[in-house]
Symmetry: C2
Subunit: 232 residues, 2 copies
DNA sequence: TCTATGAGTTAGCAATGCCTAACTCTGGAG
DNA sequence: CTCCAGAGTTAGGCATTGCTAACTCATAGA
């Protein structure tokens, strides 16, 4: 008699907490080797400092990060692998939802944020295959490959581009749906060439020309958009 | 300043427990109005009786089921809605994985079991649209429609078919991967016509003819396969 | 150097959901 | 009608992950 529990969830050890923290820390760490503070992690994840502090301590015990009390954390190689795995899931899912199911650009992030923790390795591979092993998601963010290698990012904020300089818009944060809708409405997508024509002072908008049309982009937006400088 | 926590998970109150219990009870209740026992629920979900007992009490407090201590539970209309919502998710996901991503028949169940709790209403609708609002999943199970109405099931177990009777194989439980592989190997799928030619006594195999070929199917399998009797 | 302030931590509690151990109830055999 | 076996429940834990309240630490300004 091979009676099997119909809906048995084998060893569903919920790694979701660790996965979210690892991803948040990875994104906050940036290129540098700087440590990340408890408050920054807490704000990013929308929890209190106390909650983050407790969690960071636990994740350090698990070997996912180096933790110097009162002095911040840094991911260990294992922690970084975990973060990259989640980022790969997230971006593959975003692209899949947009390409295959036609979900609007500004809504894929929220869906991917949940699903990234629940797809199997097999499904990840099927999605990647369906999309032809893509190198970047619909927002222009690079997708780590199967071995979790990720291209170096030499982009700068649009904000940092000098007047008269040209560049290619490469990506934008995927987490602000309003910003994404604004850009989509103006047909500004990753890959677009642009020229910085000038800027208003005192936090005023940035003036760019894209495809022959002049746009005036708010300073907050100009800080979120990443561009690759084009040498003249 | 509309600073937003990047990865904030709004009100992620984990309904997953309730969803799994509701689904299990729905499936155990069958057509009838009989109540379902604590042990049956516990076995189905692979938890102890004590765990199930506590959970049933809590779900009753939440209005998902009627609970008479020592006398079993029955879903309330709200509980049934919840169960049907999960069943719709589950079966749409199974079909989607098989049709769109080419995942093998015997592996879609496990993946759907997890994902069913995590897709948004919007994604559910996009999947249903992509599949053309399908009426049944790859195992032949009916999919509740958008309003959660589900076709009445007048199928019987293959086991109950008399010798010489004919029928259409309509579905099989999706939860035993080995059984599914066995059937797939023999090209026996929902929709196939068959004729019961006889059976061995004392729990022996059932003899059926399918597409001109004779098959001898184990009694456990014959109890899991559902057929619609064909009037001569 | 001293201290206030903000960053960080600890303590104690809550909700979910599972466990084992020990109890009680129900219903059928005698 | 009684009693017992098995079904069901309660009690007491543990792990996860969040919270508030109250504490400590680090450091920059005076």
């Amino acid at each position: 008699m091979t009676s099997i529990a119909h809906n048995a969830h084998p060893k569903r050890r919920t790694n979701e907490g660790a996965e979210n923290y690892a991803k948040a820390i990875y994104e906050l760490q940036g290129r540098g080797q700087e440590t990340v503070g408890t408050s920054a992690v807490a704000e990013r994840l929308g929890v209190t400092r106390a909650s983050a502090s407790g969690m960071l301590k636990r994740l350090a015990d698990e070997g996912l990060l180096e933790y110097a009390p009162y002095h911040g954390v840094r991911l260990t190689p294992e922690g970084e692998q975990l973060a990259l795995e989640m980022i790969r899931h997230h971006r593959l899912i975003e692209l899949f939802l947009a390409e295959v199911l036609g979900m609007p650009w500004d809504r894929v992030h929220a869906e991917a944020e949940v699903l990234e923790h629940h797809i199997s390795e097999e499904l990840e591979e099927l999605i990647a295959a369906k999309l032809g092993q893509p190198a970047s998601d619909p927002h222009g963010d690079p997708i780590p490959d199967r071995d979790l290698a990720i291209g170096e990012d030499d982009s700068i904020a649009l904000d940092e581009l000098g007047a008269g300089e040209r560049g290619t818009f490469v990506r934008v944060s995927d987490s602000d749906a309003e910003m994404l809708r604004y850009l989509a409405d103006r047909e500004i997508q990753p890959g677009t060439f642009l020229e910085m024509t000038g800027r208003e002072p005192f936090g005023g908008p940035v003036l760019v020309e894209i495809g022959g049309r002049a746009h005036s982009l708010g300073s907050e937006l100009a800080r979120s958009m990443r561009v690759e400088r084009r040498q003249p």
